[in-house]
């Protein structure tokens, strides 16, 4: 699933981040979430959502060609990954993380954030 957002609906609750980390890292640990919420307070009182739009820049940066595109989604092939972590710095949205086992992780398009967002601020991109 490719994501899109409507930031004006976001209330900053971070449910997306909690379920993302739980589903993808198997832990209650939002620092492992693959999207970010930034509140801009006190002025102007808005939320910014950083998320993976499957731009593929991480794949372009990978010296091992370990990030592979399929049906518009990019996924890491951990058999090929050499843990160089170059992709982490390449992400223009800063939404890739280093896992406990020191591998990179990126949005898998699982859609859990879309499913649980109480505000429908994170959505499936229908194209």
């Amino acid at each position: 699933m490719k994501l899109t957002v409507k930031e004006e609906r976001c209330s900053g609750c971070n449910v997306c981040r909690v379920v993302c980390a739980l589903h993808n890292a198997g832990a209650v640990q939002p620092s492992q979430a693959l999207l970010k919420i930034k509140g801009e307070f006190p002025d102007p009182g808005t939320y910014k959502i950083a998320y993976c739009n499957q731009c593929g820049i991480c794949a372009d940066s990978c010296p091992e060609d370990a990030i592979l595109e399929r049906d518009g989604e990019y996924n890491i092939d951990y058999e090929l990954c050499t843990q160089c972590l170059i992709c982490i710095d390449s992400c223009p949205f800063d939404v890739m993380v280093v896992t406990e086992s020191e591998y990179p992780a990126k949005c898998t398009g699982c859609g859990k954030c879309v499913e649980l967002c109480p505000r429908q601020a994170v959505l499936a991109d229908q194209g």
Binding site: C13, V19, V28, P118
Partner: protein, 621 residues
């Protein structure tokens, strides 16, 4: 291993500048759960009788619960406690936002701050690293202003607690501020932080919380959100948040107006939830994990200036709008903003300011003493008094101690309309036709606060309807006299159920406002902690905490007993002069009967002191 918990208590000693982390004692988690339970037990064990609330020997306990920070609705609550400078007894308050979950991700369920720093400082916690950093540059800064400055300095990953000038100046109702508009408002916990020379606490946490069955806990958490999404109240209650109740509170004659002289405000539709949405709203602002955000972040413009401000929540509408008679939502919001920057609890602030207005109206205090003429309905006078209080200048130095102390100084009968119990100002529900709610205020451990038991709905409807159902049903224009029958049992039941959420570290609003069923919490608690407890068994823990906080007051307040449980004379002697409850009041005789029944059912003596066998029954002997 304690699943669900981060596992450690962080103790920060400001005298030595050292921090230490110790394992959470398993019996503490077993018998008190967390949050309010940890606060109550640790304060009880650590503080000796005779402790000065503003002396270095007082401590502040900050505690999350076993469900805080997990995947379930409303898991963002954090509890704060200290010996209260407002009451001299048990003090606690809680807030939502994101601080508690982040404290857990840093590895701590609980933080104890003890001693006193030698200069104004900020505590910075970055996982295992704890620093106490002198920060004189923040002196006198507004609570929101200080948070903004620290956020820019430390980065977005840090969650912050700050105090304003009122906390630095040890105002008895100073509040701890967080996330640009959420506060631990009640009982003066920020004055204790100020007395310790702590302006702010910052925390960053990147670790995981152990879960007993992570896969099933995730499935259950997801289900809980989806159940919430399906509740009728999810769509009707959320758009206005707590302000939803403003019109209903007027309809049932429970809206404090003109320092609680009456219980209905003609202008209520100008300061209700719809007014917020139409005239202020910028964005809904939710606490951590919240599907139903109360936070209505807005922008207000008045003759005194413009400001961004979160709220006003219902309580601020009731006390600043109703009690001080600020008749436009923009003015209520601006007064709210001033309180937030100064770091003053809006509930106590509204009650203290409206008390001063009535004292002036009755000639108890003069223009010379106040520094000017003041009147109900004036935003300028409200802000003038708030600033005097925070700076402790002139009349503000007296008012900074709260209405109980101020009335003792002003005299001239003003204690009759100093609206408080135990020294804590009354929150937003007038009770002269609500015996259950009156008893709730009278017997709440912290003083006149509604969050221990909110029996008003039962007083009005004799049912357990949730708030969104009450609003939907209305009264049909018929408001009978509410009798004391059955109210004591209901109050006792609510005094266990509502504070239980504070011990679990979660928000009660999904349950209380939109009817989210409690069995879900039993199930998710077991999957997260590995411990099977029925809701009834959890309520028994909540009852233990209730007995403990009563005994805390016996231990710390000289002469504590029945006399501390009465409302102001206004509520027992003055009939309501207007509105739906015109002519009504509840006599002392009726309240005494309710207190007798309440004490007996609690296992307390006629003076309201827990009997030795009662304490033994809860393992508190």
């Amino acid at each position: 291993m304690l699943y669900g918990y981060a596992g450690k208590i962080l103790t920060i000693n400001l005298n030595t500048g050292k921090a230490s982390a110790d394992h959470i004692p398993e019996d503490l988690a077993r018998d008190y759960l967390g949050g309010r339970g940890f606060v109550a037990r640790l304060l009880y064990d650590r503080l000796d009788p005779g402790t000065d609330p503003l002396g270095p020997e007082n401590i502040i306990v900050v505690a999350t619960g076993p469900l805080s920070g997990h995947l379930l609705p409303g898991s963002g609550k954090t509890h704060f406690g200290a010996l209260s400078p407002a009451t001299g007894g048990y003090g606690d308050s809680n807030l939502g936002g994101h601080f508690g979950p982040t404290l857990k991700y840093a590895g701590y369920d609980c933080m104890i701050i003890e001693g006193k720093a030698d200069q104004l400082s900020t505590i910075i916690i970055d996982n295992e690293t704890v620093k106490i950093v002198p920060d004189q540059g923040l002196k006198g800064k507004g609570a929101i202003e200080a948070e903004q400055e620290l956020k820019e300095r430390l980065g977005e990953d840090y969650q912050l607690l700050t105090i304003g000038p009122a906390g630095e100046n040890k105002v008895a109702f100073a509040c701890i501020s967080h996330d640009f508009g959420r506060q631990a408002g009640r009982t003066g916990v920020a004055a204790v932080l100020g007395s310790k020379n702590i302006k702010a606490v910052a925390v960053r946490g990147t670790k995981k919380i152990p879960v007993f069955d992570a896969k099933r806990a995730q499935e259950k958490g997801e289900e809980m959100y989806k159940v919430c999404f399906g509740k009728p109240g999810f769509k009707t209650w959320t758009p206005f948040g707590t302000a939803s109740i403003t019109d209903w509170a007027n309809e049932v004659g429970a809206f404090p107006t003109r320092n609680f002289q009456t219980s209905y405000a003609e202008f209520h539709e100008k300061i209700n939830g719809q007014a917020i949405v139409d005239r202020l709203l910028v964005t809904d602002k939710g606490c951590f994990g919240c599907p139903t955000p109360c936070g209505k972040y807005g922008h207000t413009t008045t003759a005194l200036g413009s400001a961004y401000v979160e709220g006003p929540e219902y309580e601020s509408i009731a006390t600043l709008g109703g009690s001080c008679c600020l008749e436009e939502i923009e003015e209520v919001a601006y007064a709210n903003y001033v309180c937030d920057q100064l770091g003053i609890d809006t509930i106590s602030a509204g009650v203290v300011v409206s008390f001063a207005m009535e004292c002036f109206e009755k000639g108890v205090i003069s223009a010379e003493e106040v520094g000017r003429e003041i009147s109900f309905g004036s935003l300028e006078d409200t802000v003038y008094l708030l600033e005097k209080i925070a700076a402790r200048e002139g009349i503000g130095d007296v008012l900074a101690e709260g209405v109980k102390q101020a009335a003792a100084i002003f005299g001239d009968g003003s204690e009759s309309y100093a609206i408080h119990v135990k020294g804590l100002e009354w929150s937003g529900y007038e009770c002269r036709n609500a015996p259950g709610m009156m008893l709730s205020y009278m017997t709440a451990d912290v003083g006149a606060h509604h969050n221990r038991s909110w029996a008003l709905g039962y007083d009005v409807s004799q049912s357990d309807a949730d708030v969104s159902e009450l609003i939907e049903a209305g009264t049909g224009g018929k408001l009978e006299i509410s009798t004391p029958d059955g109210k004591v049992d209901h109050v006792i039941s609510m005094q266990h159920s509502r504070p239980l959420f504070d011990a679990l570290g979660i928000c009660r609003l999904q349950s209380m406002e939109i009817g989210f069923e409690t069995f879900h919490y039993e199930e998710v608690f077991e999957l997260i902690t590995g411990r099977r407890l029925s809701w009834q068994e959890m309520l028994a823990i909540s009852e233990r905490i209730w007995q403990l906080t009563r005994q805390f007051n016996v231990k710390h307040i000289e002469g504590f007993g029945r006399d501390w449980d009465y409302p102001p004379r206004r509520f027992m002697e003055e009939p309501v002069p207007s509105g739906p409850n015109e002519g009504r009041y509840i006599s002392k005789e009726i309240l005494d009967k309710m207190l007798d029944e309440y004490y007996e059912k609690r296992g307390w003596d006629k003076n309201g002191i827990p009997k030795p066998q009662t304490l033994a029954r809860f393992g508190l002997d």
